[in-house]
Amino acid sequence: MRRNRTLVLAAGALGLIVLIVLVLPVFLPSVSATDPVHRLLPPSAAHLLGTDSYGRDVASRLVSGGRASLGLSALITVCAAATGLVIGLVSGFFRAADAVLMRVMDAWMSFPAIILAMALAISLGASLWTELIALTVIFTPFTARVIRSRVLAVASRAYIGAARVSGMGRWKTLLVHVFPNVLPLALVQVVVLAAAAMLVDGAMSFLGLGIAPPTPTWGNMIAEGRSYLVTAPWLVVVPGVTIMLCVFLLNLVGSALRQAVDPRARTLHELQRLRTRTT
């Protein structure tokens, strides 16, 4: 039951963050209104989290930046995890597809990501969608490879043969027997992707490939605050801690979910609990 409590708590906290991010900006002043006189103020009653180098209120930027960051990170995670999962499953399970798909992934991955992102951003124009496409393209092969390696191991188990004897089609076997076995790993990938997406977004903005200023994202807030690390540390610490908090919560939700999708993990959990209690 502890498992459920963590799940509920972590999911609740995440939900709360999402809610704040969605609702609060409506009541906050413009995030792009600059006020050079009040720049780089430390946190105070007027500016809960201080102000940045333009004199903008960090708290309102944090909240409204969450929209782009969480939204983008969620979209990227979903897209990259889904495509990576599909490619990984297919190429791990179908030998014929594997040769081709994995070589494509290799070529894809060995192409420097910065240039890929630049080319995309410039040919499509820098925007949220470009960034989404670019990051999805960059992250997909990583997920695909990791998933594939697990699929390879699962595919050699005897129950895959048994499914064949039971007349199950290859694709359905993939879905019913292989997929659940790689799902926990996929959940880990989701956490990894979400964390990476939230951070990489900053690097993308830095390269001018991300969401255009002054729209804040947690990533570009960190990137912008970078030069004030010593004089105004809150500029980096605040969004940084927020990202870490979200990743941590996501991680909790991820492992709780894993137990929910995997009956064996449930048993293990019980076991660990018993072991920690006795002796």
Binding site: T34, P36, S53, Y54, I122
Partner: protein
Amino acid sequence: ATQNSGTDGPPVRGGNLTVAVPTDPQSLDMVANPGQVTAQIGNMMYEKLFEVDRDFTARPMLVDNYTTSQDRLVYTFTLRKDVTFQDGNPLTAADVVASLDRWRKAHRTGQLVSPDIDSITAGDPHTVQLRLKRPRYPIIDELASPGTEIYEAKNLAGLPATGFGQDKAIGTGPYKLKSWDIGQQLVLQRYDGYKSRSEQDWGGQAGAKHAYLDTVTYKVVADQDALVNGLQTGQWDHAMPTNDQYESLKANPAVVVHNLPGGNENVIIPNFTKGSRFADPRARQALNLLLDKPAINAATGGSKDLTIETGAFASPDNKSFYSTAGEDVYRQHDPARAKQLLAEAGVPAGSTVHIVTTNSYPEFGKWAVLLQDELSKIGIQTKIDTYDFATMLGTLTKDPAGWDLTTLFFDSALTSPAQMPALTLGTLNGSSSAELDALLAQFNASTNADQAKSTVDKLQDLTWRQLSVITLSQSRLYAAYSPRLKGYDNFYRIFWNSWLAP
């Protein structure tokens, strides 16, 4: 931080000075590569006929003395006799002719000066004659400008436009190239055969040069944080950090922080090309009225010490070019009027202004954001595209009407209009005009400083009328260095006559 005073003690010979530079010089050919780092390292290695002193006034360097004909069309330069290149060959007139010919063809300033030049010829091995088609007042200043370094003639034969390689990086200066790990560091070494001029030090790049340091190592440090950290931990002795770092470095007792002469002119560049929102002069006026320059400077300048609130295109240190004409226009600020003017110019509230800028210099992005904020206050929307520098240039030139505003800064210590981007920007934003050309010709035809100065005032005034650039301010540069560095003139990265206290 302590100020470098005159109490440096007697010079000490020996040692290595480590200097942080933001990029690899990439090429040591100052004609083919007009980059800052190339110039600053090159100034240690090469010499020109004339060099600027601390006040940016041209002083003879390789020239022993020179005469000007009555009609101001023929200049005869007598070269110093004992000068040798770092490979031991003596400096001859042929070298000067070859170098200047290449400058005329391949260097931007040279190309602008060239139409006025009739010929450059060697008289005897130690005299060079420069014939002009018409009198050109700033010609000596231009011969002291980057690109006119004297290389050996044999090294210049048959060079491609991309310039020479490091094997031909040979000059007459007090330091010569020792080693170069691309992208990592470049080491200069004292040239023992250097013959100094006999004058007292004129400061800047002119006068007597004594190479006290054995070697000078230029380390490539692109990252600002690394730059400052390395300075604090003694990884390097000298750096020129960004203005953001100024206050904290100034507060640090372990480093000396000192202003450098000259600086940068920070500009917003409106696009004159038809199709741009600022093709109409009223729109440009509106922009000028809209910009709250003090506020922008406060948010981006780093420190009051470093910001000069002036609309001039030259630094006050650059006495012959500093002009306060048009200052009233610079100080105008009236957003309401701006809104109205914009509407009149066909840019009503709700339209979108396209700003193209670069993240290669952090200030640019900031100006763009502040600009965006001010435009949004009068109901104008903005689309900001931030690229790396090369992409920005590519974007600006590929589609000349596809942008409205961009941001740049220019060196404000340049000594002739031909060198000044603010006056030669026509290729980029279509701001050239007959009036400007006439003024430039007038300047060249000046016969004395007063005449020249009055033309400079007109040029400055014209700039503020046309608004080919909208100057936000002048930023001063500063150097931060180890207290061990003595004798340093606080002049960019000039390290002859400097030594390290033991």
